[in-house]
């Protein structure tokens, strides 16, 4: 019979291979689902893995979708490594979008394209402020950050609704819930004509480098992560867990807010009730599949974007149901978590010993 035996030390090779095995498993299950639904599995795979990479426009869309995912996931990676479970990134995303949108609405005919800078800064501050609420409640009152940040997601979404239905509504918009369309000066500069890709990509890459340096090379990052892995040791070494909490929350909040600002000043160009699309939650998967490592996050961000776009295409071209994207994303995370066990355990075949005997001991 097969048994799981703890390894003497975690396997580095498995740490590398685990996401790939998880992807392979998810793909296999995906093929089974396609067949069960009566669709050609090869066509299905093509939609997910080929079409999103096919031409310049497709790659631009891929980058456009990956940018917010990567940004948010970077912040979450720092937070999770510090054992701060910021589940409310979606709310911080919305808060950033609101702040950025407000600045964008202040633009007038005389504004120069430099207004993009305060717009993005406002987004960061909005996200930081929203995350600070959670941090403060945990710091002062020991309130669990998972629950508080999550409740604040709903509050942020309702606040957005209130503003676009009420004070911020476009007076020339026939009373529809939307703000004015932001002036062209506020639009993020595009990178290539023919795609919607904008400078957010560079910002995201800069954030990747910044987070990599923070986590892998800086003292502060070391303190953060130690606090996450071994809180007692961290305290003994003098690393403040309070500082870690605030650092983690504000960083992840700020990055999520920045992502919100980029979406608002980029593809959206106005605020509507449909600003929140679930990036804050998808980024959690991106962070884990990327092993909480900046480079891994870039790759898993691209993978997740392929799932999104592929799912859309599969629906539009093959008639597959839209919900299939969510199924694949959840499956990927499950498979990853299962495969991760192989980092700490190995599978051994045990012969001979009576099953009873082994069981009693290993209980």
């Amino acid at each position: 019979m097969l048994k799981l035996e703890p390894r003497p030390q975690p396997s580095a090779a498995m740490s590398l291979a685990s996401p790939l095995i998880a992807l392979a498993l998810t793909t296999l299950i995906g093929v089974a689902i396609f067949v069960a639904l009566g669709k050609d599995p090869l066509q299905g795979l093509r939609m997910f893995f080929w079409e999103p990479l096919r031409n310049g426009y497709a790659l631009g869309e891929l980058g456009l979708k990956a940018t917010p995912l990567v940004l948010i996931a970077l912040g979450l990676a720092v937070a999770f490594r510090a054992n701060v479970w910021n589940i409310g990134a979606e709310g911080q995303f919305v808060a950033g979008a609101l702040a950025a949108g407000w600045v964008a609405m202040q633009a007038d005919a005389g504004s120069t394209p430099l207004i993009v800078v305060p717009i993005l800064l406002a987004g960061v501050l909005g996200g930081v402020a929203w995350a600070a609420i959670t941090a403060a409640l945990r710091d002062r009152f020991h309130a669990n950050e998972i629950l508080v940040s999550l409740m604040l997601v709903y509050v942020a979404e309702l606040l957005l609704q209130y503003l676009v239905y009420g004070p911020w509504k476009d007076p020339a918009g026939y009373n529809f819930p939307q703000t004015i369309t932001f002036l062209p000066a506020t639009q993020l500069p595009k990178l290539f004509t023919g795609t919607r890709l904008h400078i957010g990509v560079w910002i995201a890459l800069a954030a990747v480098i910044g987070c990599w340096w923070l986590l892998m090379r800086s003292m502060a990052g070391f303190a953060l992560q130690t606090g996450g892995i071994a809180p007692m040791a961290a305290r003994y070494a003098g690393f403040s867990s309070r500082a870690a909490l605030w650092c983690a929350m504000t960083l992840s909040g700020g990055l999520a807010g920045l992502a919100g600002a980029l979406e608002t000043a980029g593809p959206l160009g106005q605020l509507t009730p449909y600003v929140p699309v679930g990036y804050g939650f998808a980024a959690i998967i991106v962070a884990f599949v990327g092993r909480l490592h900046p480079v891994g996050i870039v790759l898993s961000g691209i993978l997740m974007s392929m799932f999104y776009i592929g799912g859309e295409l599969a629906q539009s071209r093959l008639g597959l149901p839209k919900a299939i994207t969510g199924v694949f994303q959840g499956l990927l995370l499950f498979c990853l978590l299962a495969c991760d066990t192989l980092i700490h355990y190995r599978v051994r075949r045990v012969a001979g010993l009576g099953v009873r005997g082994v069981d009693k001991e290993q209980r």
Binding site: L53, N175, M216, G228, E312, S316
Partner: protein, 390 residues
């Protein structure tokens, strides 16, 4: 969480970079089969009818086709198109397209797949459709419930307020408590107009009715619609009306032994005892006309091209009236229908007063479309304030 070691990270990063490079190289090779079939074909002016390739028509829906309400009505009309035109057209649809940045990608893909007549069935598609329309001058776009047009994009809508009025006529006659309830979706002029028209219709049967409104702030959220309906019933309403898209309100009414109306589609099977009638939209007359025009080369758009069809054109109706509705009331509803059809009856004709009693429409004055599209006030008889209306 497993502990990380620096060196394997480097090895792994190289490996991953290499695979990424390989993937991109593959993608570059794939660029050759770039041109999608038929995307460049311009609409045949007059040529499509004579044995040429079928006209490709695509629909973008905001909800699932099975929602029993808004999207269901659109999809039924699409199926009627297939029946009417047979092999001359080829239809397809994409459902649950969010009213957000992603919609633009979907519309571009529909264009890429060779569709030359594209319908976007909700307000939130207006911005993305305008962008894609500007880039695809050879494709025709039709946008439902919007107010902006372009050289190749026009908008259309249905006079749902006529259905609301007729429902009101029945409601006013059937209420015993004199209080009616409306589960409101989103406080846009269309919905406020419907509430007002419902009230006006009810007042034609019973001048003393009052109407209470509870807002769900969404188009489709059955649990909240249930809560809202229950609240209205608790507050004394015994006939309910809705502007939301699910059958939850009707089912709640059935549970409580009250009356309600179906909305957008025939919902009578969801609450056999409670169902008084369904105010339905039939999009097929408009869709058939649009496809006909496209096939015949007479389709045209431009600023101001907005079609607003109602009972007269066959787009709106009140169906499946409950047997318990007295014959006299049914006759009055039929009278209203006939009057709307031949133009002899107008719902929004003065004197109509606002909540404060002041006249908003002078005696015998007929409201024009501009007035109707900007309604942000409640008429007399409706309780409460219009939410956040500026």
């Amino acid at each position: 969480m497993s502990v990380r070691y620096p060196r394997p990270m480097l090895r792994r990063s190289l490996l991953i970079a290499a695979s990424a490079a390989a993937a991109i190289a593959l993608a570059a090779c794939g660029k050759k089969d770039d041109a999608p079939a038929g995307a460049a074909s311009a609409p045949q002016a007059g040529g499509a009818a004579s044995g040429a390739a079928p006209l490709k028509v695509a629909f973008a829906y905001v909800g699932p086709v099975g929602d029993g309400g808004w999207t269901f009505a659109h999809d039924n009309a699409r199926k009627k198109l297939e029946q009417t035109f047979g092999s001359r057209i080829q239809t397809s649809f994409v459902e649950k397209v969010p009213e957000a940045a992603d919609a633009e990608r979907v519309f571009r893909d529909l264009v890429q797949q060779g569709n030359t007549l594209v319908f976007g069935t909700t307000f939130g598609y207006m911005a993305p459709m305008l962008k894609v329309a500007a880039d695809s001058p050879q494709v025709r776009f039709e946008h439902a419930t919007g107010y902006k047009q372009a050289a190749n994009l026009r908008s259309y809508d249905a006079r749902t307020y006529e259905g609301a009025y007729m429902a009101g006529v029945v409601a006013g006659a059937m209420t015993k408590t004199g209080t009616l309830g409306v589960v409101g979706s989103i406080p846009i002029p269309e919905v406020i107009r419907n509430i007002n028209s419902f009230t006006l219709g009810a007042q034609s049967s019973n001048p003393k009715v009052t109407v209470k409104v509870v807002w769900v702030n969404e188009w489709f959220n059955p649990p909240q619609e249930t809560n809202a309906a229950q609240t209205l019933i608790n507050a004394g309403a015994d006939v309910l009306m809705q502007n939301t898209d699910s059958s939850a309100v009707l089912q709640t009414a059935e549970k409580n032994g009250k009356y309600a109306f179906g909305w957008d589609s025939d919902m009578s099977s969801y609450g056999p005892k409670a169902h008084l009638g369904s105010a339905v939209i039939d999009w097929s007359p408009y869709y058939i006309a649009s496809v006909q025009a496209a096939l015949g080369g007479t389709w045209s758009a431009g600023p101001g091209k907005h079609s607003w069809w109602g009972v007269k054109e066959g787009a709106i109706d009140l169906v499946a009236l409950n047997a318990a509705v007295p014959a006299e009331v049914k006759a009055r509803v039929d009278q209203v229908k006939a009057g709307l059809k031949d133009g002899s009856f107008v719902i929004w004709k003065g004197p109509i007063a606002g909540q404060d009693g002041k006249e908003v429409l002078a005696r015998d004055k007929v409201a024009d479309d501009a007035f109707l599209q900007n309604i942000r006030f409640y008429v007399k008889g409706v309780e409460g304030q219009v939410p956040a209306g500026k």
